[in-house]
């Protein structure tokens, strides 16, 4: 199955942020200029109005002013660019955790398996609208089956637009373009390619390997593959920011899990261990996070808050399973399951009950969980189990439990 990769590019990023923060600038030609030294400042970014006058990035302010006498020069505000860059990534992270930033204003997103039946275009368009509404900034998005073409797509139509490049039709869209449009074809490579009569991406794709090797070495062969749509480089995972403290258990199963019942029994099993750990450490879980890795090793995380902090394995398991049912589309069988208790609080801290909680039921539940825990402590882990756990499970023989616990976490 083809991947679905988006490349989101914030248009005229610096200039757009300035115009967004100061609406009075919006209808004027604006250039953000580095003022390392007042008289030698250069244009770092410009808006479309300034572009129309021929103002170019990296030219001197006086040159730009010659072309556009009423050009408004503004100083860069990097802390704002950083802020909007982060806010945009936060929006992207609602769709996938596979986000690879490329500079401050560009990101690749691998949304394979996170589409819930929607097309790449639909998701790209929703992201575009969300960024515009929440941040007041426009992005252009390329949607394709690899990173190179996704990036190319985001350059084709801008601002505030989506370009889809599909496997079936990429030759018509991509091949007529100048080779220099493709990521990886820099200025010197472009010159060399031109020397040998290679102008377009299509010509690059169809050039003899020997020639490309001669022109650019190994890199030349890679460029030919990219031009042919054969870019398999992954979108590297965004570093997942763990909550400060969590207790988690994960399991890689011997056989792939095929249905939700199997996932449920694994989750119950994992939650038993988490419950024990919570009790030992005198903690309650205020939330649950799960991470599911499918048999193609794509993984996805979901998390939720619990209405009441708990140590109860069955509550944790239920919350985990609910997350799973809501989130996982069963595009592929599952290889590994991790459940984590998050938002930990001290178990001797008082709990705020609300009108809808039934303290009696809750207490019963907790007493039962405590009893189960006592038996497990006296007679070993397998002495008592939820009945559902007696079903044959695809747990590894030697239970290879990977503890997912970054530094500073309870173990």
């Amino acid at each position: 199955m083809d991947r679905i990769i988006l490349h989101c590019d914030m248009n005229n990023f610096y200039a757009s942020v300035e115009c967004m923060l100061r609406p009075e600038l919006r209808d004027k030609p604006v250039a953000v200029c580095g003022s390392v030294e007042e008289r030698h400042g250069i244009v770092l970014a410009k808006n479309y109005k300034a572009k129309a006058y021929g103002v170019k990035t990296a030219e001197a302010i006086w040159q730009a002013k010659q072309k556009c006498p009423n050009l408004v020069i503004v100083e860069p505000h990097y802390e704002q660019y950083l802020r909007f860059s982060k806010l945009a990534r936060e929006i992207y992270s609602r769709y996938t955790d596979r986000i690879e930033p490329y500079g401050m204003d560009e990101c690749w997103l691998d949304i394979t398996g996170c589409t819930r039946g929607r097309s790449g275009f639909e998701i790209a368009d929703e992201i575009r609208r969300t960024v515009k509404f929440e941040l007041g900034l426009t992005i252009s998005v390329g949607v394709s089956f690899n990173k190179i073409f996704a990036k190319l797509g985001s350059d084709l139509k801008k601002p505030d637009a989506i370009t889809v490049i599909e496997r079936a039709s990429f030759r018509e869209i991509v091949w007529p373009l100048d080779a220099s449009e493709m990521l990886g074809v820099g200025r010197s490579t472009t010159r060399k390619l031109l020397y040998y009569g290679i102008h377009t991406i299509g010509e690059l794709a169809n050039a003899p390997e020997e020639l490309l090797k001669h022109i650019a070495g190994k890199n030349g062969l890679a460029l030919k593959r990219y031009a042919s749509g054969e870019d398999y480089s992954p979108v590297t995972h965004q570093d997942y920011v763990m909550p400060i403290k969590s207790i988690g258990h994960g399991i890689t199963t011997i056989q792939d899990l095929e249905n939700s019942a199997e996932v449920w029994s694994i989750m119950l099993e994992l939650s038993q261990d988490i419950g024990s750990k919570l009790m030992k450490n005198k903690k309650r879980a205020g939330g649950v996070a799960i991470s599911i890795r499918d048999n193609e090793l794509f993984s996805k995380e979901w998390q939720c808050q619990l209405s009441l902090p708990t140590q109860s394995p069955s509550y944790i398991a239920k919350a985990a399973f609910e997350l799973f049912v809501r989130g996982y589309g069963w595009a592929r069988p599952i290889r590994s399951v991790t459940v984590r208790a998050i938002y930990l609080t001290d178990s001797d801290a008082p709990i705020q009950y609300n009108v809808w909680t039934d303290p009696e039921k809750l207490e019963k539940r907790e007493r039962l969980d405590l009893a189960v825990e006592a038996i497990r402590n006296r007679f070993g882990k397998d002495a008592i189990r939820n009945a559902v756990l007696l079903m044959p499970m695809k747990l590894p023989e030697e239970r290879r439990v990977e503890l997912v616990m970054p530094t500073g976490m309870v173990s």
């Binding site: 967004m20 923060l21 100061r22 609406p23 802020r83 806010l87 515009k132 509404f133 929440e134 941040l135 007041g136 900034l137 705020q352």
Partner: protein
């Protein structure tokens, strides 16, 4: 003639519940007048297209009129109409 807007940062009285949800209750206008917020209608992340900036946007009712109140990095502002 197109209406002009400007950004007015305002002091705000807030209630915060145990989950950390924030309920703005009143704002103090530039002239010192305190305006009670009659109702919080809606809350979402949004940019202010009129005066710039972005953050959490509260749609509130003040003296029978619907108004946006923004929280941006801990500061609160409203989109004020230019009197001129």
């Amino acid at each position: 003639m197109e209406k002009r807007f400007y950004k007015v940062y305002v002091p705000v009285t807030l209630d915060v519940d145990s989950d950390g949800n924030i309920y703005p209750r009143s704002i103090v206008w530039e002239d010192g007048h305190v305006y009670e917020i009659d109702r919080l209608k809606y809350r979402c992340r949004a940019a202010s297209t009129k005066v710039g900036g972005c953050g959490m946007r509260y749609t509130v009712m003040i003296e029978g009129k619907e108004t946006y109140l923004f929280e941006e990095d801990g500061r609160w502002f409203v989109e004020a109409k230019d009197a001129s």
